[in-house]
């Protein structure tokens, strides 16, 4: 009872203190303890009063202020006071300077954002960025890479790097930058360019849609994990849920599909959304080029079905790059794909007349006996087709074999025969001319011979 009273008193005290000092909140106790240990090198005498923002800006609001190595040390007053941290004092972050004498030493302790933003930093520590930093990368993003330093603005501020419509550009400063990609060994390469051209990217950049997803909507803001990490929002089995945050209706359809059943087992072997739609380049699904591309995506697992599909008229026309005829999804459906044995599948026997009838208006029970995946090499599945195929093969081989030989032999003999042919022909013609002159015969049609009763040359 006594402790509860004490806690309440303290809480009241802090609430009062915080509201009174709203313009310059007091620094958290942990920070003021941690900071001095880090900046022991500065050897600041403890008694000095903490410098105010104006104290700092006396030197730092000057464009000519530089480190000994030439890098700028300027902090413009307007920039800092306009930032979300504007109400804070410099030493709230640069805690090691709280008791420093000015001018202070050049090297300062690293600012610890966790002093205030403990949860976000804890999430960051789980991220691929933190892992890369820990692995020695000097380009992997830290807090300031995305948020900036003295100019940090709230994510609700349209000028903020982390404002919804600006996030893609913020991420692109590394993930669309070949130098950083090379230096950071980022295996996926430039994702900013394909994302920028994607339906999501264009919804953001062209239409300015706040509901369009940006990088952080799929990858998370701070705990950006690799797709190989099962806890990642973009791990294969988590993708349907991630996309389903917006595309809920589709996610619901997909959840009932054969692919989702396999995916749920968590061993891969089934596509998630990005397998067909791609992760970053996501193209509008009504683009015929994309629809044709998905065919090869289906074929990357269903290789045998792909092969037999390509033997059909449907498969040939789509291979040529024309969308006029049936591709996989036209018969099998798209998100809720089910095996033919499932009565709900559009390719279940009972549904074929309707499914084929979408294109072939008068399809009947006979018509749907067509095999859209007929295999000419499989006598069990397609006996008649197999026989036809073998017969045609034999016919082709025999014809070309026989006449190939015939032509080759003739070529050799004909070339020999041709030697001296012009002279021989001239002699023959001389001989024919020398024969008893014969005028044009007036005799008419003789059976079996062509006649040209009116053959004036065409």
């Amino acid at each position: 009872m006594r402790y509860r009273g004490l806690t309440a008193t303290l809480a009241l005290f802090w609430t009062l203190a915080l509201s009174l000092s709203a313009r310059a909140p007091a620094v958290d106790a942990t920070a003021s303890q941690a900071a001095p240990t880090k900046s022991a090198k500065g050897a600041a005498p403890p008694a000095a009063a903490a410098p105010t923002v104006d104290d700092c800006l006396t030197c730092h609001d000057d464009d000519s202020l530089k480190r000994t190595n030439g890098t700028p040390l300027t902090v413009h007053k307007t920039v800092f006071t306009g930032s979300v941290h504007g109400p804070l004092a410099c030493v709230d972050c640069h805690a090691d300077l709280a008791h420093a004498e000015l001018p202070h030493a050049e090297k300062l302790a690293k600012v610890n954002c966790a002093t205030c933003h403990a949860d976000e930093v804890a999430q960051y520590q789980q991220s691929a960025h933190a892992a890369a930093r820990a692995g020695g990368s000097d380009v992997a993003a830290t807090c300031v890479s995305c948020h900036g330093m003295h100019d940090i603005k709230s994510k609700t501020d349209p000028e903020s790097r982390t404002y919804h419509l600006n996030i893609a550009a913020t991420c692109a400063s590394c993930h669309g930058n070949q130098a950083v990609i090379a230096r950071g060994h980022i295996a996926i390469g430039d994702v900013a360019t394909p994302f920028g051209d994607s339906i999501h990217g264009r919804a953001l950049s062209r239409s300015g849609l706040l509901v369009a997803p940006t990088c952080s909507d799929c990858h998370g803001p701070h705990d950006i994990r690799r797709k190989s990490d099962p806890a990642s929002r973009v791990a294969l089995e988590n993708v349907p849920a991630t996309c389903g945050k917006c595309h809920e209706g589709i996610a619901h359809q997909f959840a009932g599909s054969g692919h989702a059943t396999v995916l749920a087992k968590g061993k891969g072997g089934a596509p998630a959304c990005q397998t067909c739609h791609t992760a970053h380049a996501i193209i509008a699904a009504d683009d015929p080029a994309w629809q044709l591309g998905v065919v090869s995506q289906c074929g990357s697992c269903h290789a045998d079905k792909m092969k037999t599909y390509r033997d059909t008229f449907h498969g040939q026309v789509t291979k040529l790059g024309f969308r006029t005829v049936a591709a996989c999804a036209d018969c099998h459906g798209n998100h809720r794909i089910l095996p033919a044995g499932d009565p709900a599948s559009p390719v279940a026997r009972a549904n074929l007349i309707h499914t084929c009838g979408k294109c072939h208006a008068n399809a009947n029970a006979n018509f749907v006996k067509y095999d859209p995946h007929a295999d000419k090499h499989n006598p069990k599945r397609n006996a008649a087709l197999y026989v036809a195929s073998k017969s045609m093969q034999i016919l082709l081989i025999c014809t070309f074999g026989f006449f190939g030989l015939h032509s080759v032999l003739w070529l050799g003999r004909g070339m020999k025969e041709n030697r001296g042919a012009p002279a021989r022909h001239a002699r023959a013609e001389e001989e024919l001319r020398g024969a008893e002159p014969r005028g044009r015969s007036e005799v008419g049609n003789v059976q079996g011979l062509p006649t040209e009763r009116s053959d004036k040359d065409v």
């Binding site: 390509r310 033997d311 059909t312 008229f313 040939q316 026309v317 291979k319 040529l320 790059g321 024309f322 006029t324 072939h360 399809a363 009947n364 006979n366 018509f367 006996k369 067509y370 095999d371 000419k376 397609n382 008649a384 087709l385 036809a388 045609m392 016919l395 014809t399 070309f400 006449f403 015939h406 032509s407 032999l409 003739w410 070529l411 050799g412 004909g414 070339m415 025969e417 041709n418 042919a421 023959a428 013609e429 024919l432 001319r433 014969r438 005028g439 044009r440 015969s441 007036e442 005799v443 003789v446 059976q447 079996g448 011979l449 062509p450 006649t451 040209e452 053959d455 040359d457 065409v458």
Partner: protein, 278 residues
């Protein structure tokens, strides 16, 4: 052209193909080249050239329509040819199409001619005494005849599947597509290599036998190449009917059309070989 002028002054000419046959062959060439160019991209859809050729011809919507227009032309050629045969038999009571030197029906002489021709290739005997239609010409004829029936029939099935499915089971279209494609490959391969060689590119005829355009063969050529026919014609008074020399205009037009056809044909063969090899 000088060749023609010279021939006109010197030699008599025998009419081998009448004007209707020449015109029919012209339409046959046109439709065959058209069907091959619009059809082969489908048969070899996985070859890198296929999509490009299909797009160059105007895309699927265009090639699809062209293929059917050319098919209609070829069917018309086929029907006209068969009608003429029927007229010959039924109206003129000319039964020579069934047997004898003017018939396309294979006969014992064709077998012995073929055997003799092979021996001549090897330099063992004199060349056989060919008549009006040689064994390889008969093969060409029946290959095209059979091809038109098979490819045309299967093509019509694929053109109107819903109609044919009223009577036939759907798997027939699987066979129709296979046969249509393979038979077309046979036809295209045969015409553009074997027929071109036998009729135009072989050394005795190189670069082109103009008879299918002019209809006329010189007396000298007939005597050298078809001694049996020449003999028959010469021995019957008045049968060696001088049809007059080929018209230079027709000759030139034939040269241009024929060369273009051979060029297109060989280009298609090259693409096919490329697709088969790579």
């Amino acid at each position: 052209m000088s060749e023609v002028v010279q021939l006109r002054e010197t030699t008599r000419h025998v009419l081998r193909f009448d004007r209707t046959d020449r015109v029919l062959h012209g339409f046959l060439m046109l439709s065959f080249l058209g069907l091959a160019s619009t059809g082969m991209p489908l048969l070899f859809s996985e070859a890198p050239w296929a999509g490009r050729l299909a797009r160059a011809l105007g895309g699927f919507a265009v090639t699809h329509r062209l293929h059917r227009i050319f098919a209609a032309i070829m069917i018309a050629v086929f029907v006209t040819h068969v009608s003429r045969l029927i007229v010959r038999v039924a109206v003129r009571n000319d039964y020579s199409i069934f047997w004898g030197p003017s018939s396309m029906v294979p006969q014992p002489k064709d077998l012995t001619d073929m055997y003799g021709h092979f021996l001549w290739f090897l330099g063992l005997v004199k060349r056989p005494s060919f008549d009006r239609f040689t064994y390889w010409e008969k093969f060409d004829y029946w290959a095209v005849f059979w091809g038109m029936a098979i490819i045309g029939g299967s093509g019509l099935m694929l053109w109107f599947p819903e109609v044919f499915a009223r009577l036939l089971p759907g798997w027939i279209f699987n066979i129709a597509l296979l046969v249509h494609g393979e038979e077309a490959l046979l036809a295209v391969g045969f015409i553009f290599t074997i027929h071109f060689f036998n009729s135009h590119l072989r050394p005795e005829k190189f670069p082109m036998d103009m008879v299918i355009f002019t209809g006329r063969v010189s007396e000298r050529e007939l005597r050298d190449e078809r001694p049996a026919e020449y003999g028959r014609l010469s021995s019957t008074a008045g049968r060696l009917h001088d049809a007059g020399a080929p018209s230079p205009r027709v000759w030139l037009a034939g040269r241009i059309v024929g060369s273009a056809a051979v060029g297109v044909g060989l280009a298609i063969v090259t693409l096919i070989v490329y697709a088969l090899v790579f």
